[in-house]
């Protein structure tokens, strides 16, 4: 079993309806774990230099993935970011969104009543199905929502049928 098989790309696909987190505590737990791993491998502490500027971050954008037979669409909420604050890259089987939500310059004399918005460096990785055409990926950013469209190529059968001859 490849490690990528553990990534829940196929979770809840087809007939089974995707369970939303609040209805299914186990799925919520799974998501938490996924995020934990994302944070761990994408975490700044693995890079010895630059760790100081990439603070351990609380900001981790949430991701929705939907698909049709011809396209995979990834949506994520990045409020307060601009296009230059993040980058999207795609490899054979992974889509990576990384960037930094910068804290506005702390002015003196600000007396905070509430600070719920989080900032910091983030990286999310999404494993892609094999039939995505990584050359044709397009991304659009509007109103704090990033939408990435990944077209699928015509399904190529990975396995070929072997004709068994009877003797």
């Amino acid at each position: 079993m490849a490690i990528t098989d553990l990534i829940p790309w196929n979770r809840g696909k087809r007939q089974i309806q995707v369970q939303r987190e609040e209805r299914d505590p186990f799925l919520a737990f799974q998501h938490d774990l996924n995020r934990l791993f994302d944070d761990f491998w994408g975490g700044s502490w693995l890079t010895p230099y630059g760790a100081s500027e990439r603070e351990w971050s609380k900001f981790s954008p949430q991701i929705d993935v939907v698909e049709t037979d011809t396209e995979v669409k990834v949506q994520t909420e990045l409020p307060g970011l601009e296009e230059k604050d993040f980058e999207v890259s795609v490899s054979q089987d992974t889509l990576t969104i990384r960037g930094e939500k910068k804290q506005e310059k702390e002015e003196k004399g600000r007396n905070y009543y509430r600070a719920e918005r989080s900032y910091g460096w983030f990286q999310r990785e999404i494993s892609l199905p094999r039939n995505v055409d990584t050359d044709q990926v397009s991304a659009e950013f509007s109103k704090g929502v990033l939408t990435i469209s990944l077209p699928k190529v015509a399904a190529q059968e990975d396995r070929k049928k072997v004709v068994v001859k009877a003797k």
Partner: protein, 137 residues
């Protein structure tokens, strides 16, 4: 400025759904409490609210008596024919109310929206203290 009475335990990353509000919602979609920073400067109070998916035209700010309500409507994404494969968040509207104290100059409230973030400037009323002379009679 008095904040919401209810002590909100916001989780770090998940959206908090509006559980109870004064009015029943007439829309079938869920409403979330936008995560907000509130800070005070010398001359104003600033509310910064994360409302991804909301543009300047679909944010509605109402002021009734001393209650300031923010409503942000998200235009639903066309997803007909798509099958969800992995879902972490839900799309929905945003709603949050704040009660304002008298020190806010309610006629001069300003709001602007940028990249899914609402900036609300609530200017304070200038010093209006009057000294009243007390006569001895």
């Amino acid at each position: 400025m008095a904040e919401e009475k209810k002590d909100l335990q916001l989780q770090e990353t998940e959206k908090q759904e509006v559980q109870e509000s004064g009015a029943e919602r007439t829309r079938a979609r869920p409403a979330f409490i936008p995560r907000s920073d509130i800070y005070e400067l010398d001359n104003e109070i600033v509310v910064v609210a994360d409302m991804p998916g909301v543009d300047a035209d679909s944010v509605e700010i109402t002021l009734e008596r001393n209650t300031l309500t923010i409503n942000g409507y998200v235009k639903p994404t066309e997803l007909a024919g798509y099958t969800p494969a992995y879902a972490e968040y839900r799309e929905g509207d945003y709603q949050r109310s704040f009660s304002l104290s008298n020190e806010i100059d309610q006629s001069k409230i300003e709001a602007n929206m940028k990249d899914g973030v609402l900036y609300l400037h609530l200017p304070k009323v200038g010093p209006t203290t009057r000294k009243i002379a007390v006569k001895t009679g």
